[in-house]
């Protein structure tokens, strides 16, 4: 495999890694929103 092919694969790998980071962050945010909403509702009661 030439350095050029490695460069192409590495470039795409960085973008895929960023997309995975976004997906992971989305999961954490949804969990956090549910937790905070539950907290606010329990405070109202």
């Amino acid at each position: 495999m030439s350095a050029l092919t490695i460069g192409l694969i590495a470039g795409w790998a960085i973008l895929v890694a960023y997309v995975l980071t976004l997906a992971n962050r989305e999961k954490h945010l949804r969990r956090e929103i549910d937790r905070v909403r539950a907290m606010v509702e329990s405070d109202r009661r």
Partner: protein, 204 residues
């Protein structure tokens, strides 16, 4: 941006990449992948600058979310461009890093935008954080012309600055669509984070 539009954007980007697969993976284009990647990063930097100026003028936090989304996505694309550039350097000279003007200017630009994200982590008060970040984003953009000059005019030893061929323009369009998709998702996340903060404040 609606979910349907985002899906259409993604499908068109993938179709563009698939239709031009042969020209993108030819031996010549593989080495010049950094050109459309750096072009997309530059577009993201312009978007970040515009959003930062808009925030400073209007104090609307949607612009702050757009600025952070554009900056983060641009940073990912610039990192990919630098790594691809390193591989081209390695292919041409056997050394994967050389302090030539193009690579060094791109690295300095990456560090400036990385500092933008670090600055955001350091300030807690939302208005102050957004204002400082917008000012830093405008400052960081001043490096962008230097990167363009470094890549095109100074003509470093091992880098042969490529011109905008049809395949590269096509690649730039597809990558820009993907970047827009990523930035929209990131922007929504930033808005969700702000909603969480306001919910927390109302609960206290």
């Amino acid at each position: 941006m609606g979910n349907k539009l985002l899906i259409v954007l993604g499908v068109v980007a993938i179709a563009l990449l698939a239709l031009n697969h042969d020209s993108f993976t030819s031996a010549r284009e593989e080495g010049f992948f950094y050109i459309p990647l750096a072009g997309t990063a530059a577009i993201a930097a312009v978007a970040s600058l515009a959003a930062s100026i808009a925030f400073l003028r209007t104090r609307n936090f949607r612009f702050d979310a757009a600025a952070v989304a554009a900056t983060e996505v641009g940073l990912a694309f610039l990192a990919a461009a630098i790594v691809n550039g390193c591989c081209l350097t390695g292919y041409a000279s056997g050394r994967f890093w050389s302090w030539d003007s193009g690579l060094t200017a791109a690295l300095v630009c990456w560090l400036l935008y990385a500092a933008y994200l670090m600055l955001r982590q350091a300030v807690e008060e939302p208005t102050q954080r957004a204002t400082f970040a917008a000012a830093w984003s405008i400052f960081a953009f001043l490096d962008m012309p230097l990167v363009v000059v470094a890549m095109n005019w100074w003509k470093p030893g091992v880098h042969i600055p490529g011109d905008w061929t049809g395949a590269r323009v096509c690649h730039l369009v597809a990558l820009t669509m993907i970047a827009l998709l990523m930035a929209t998702v990131r922007m929504r996340q930033e808005e969700a984070r702000r909603e969480i903060d306001s919910l927390r404040r109302s609960a206290q």
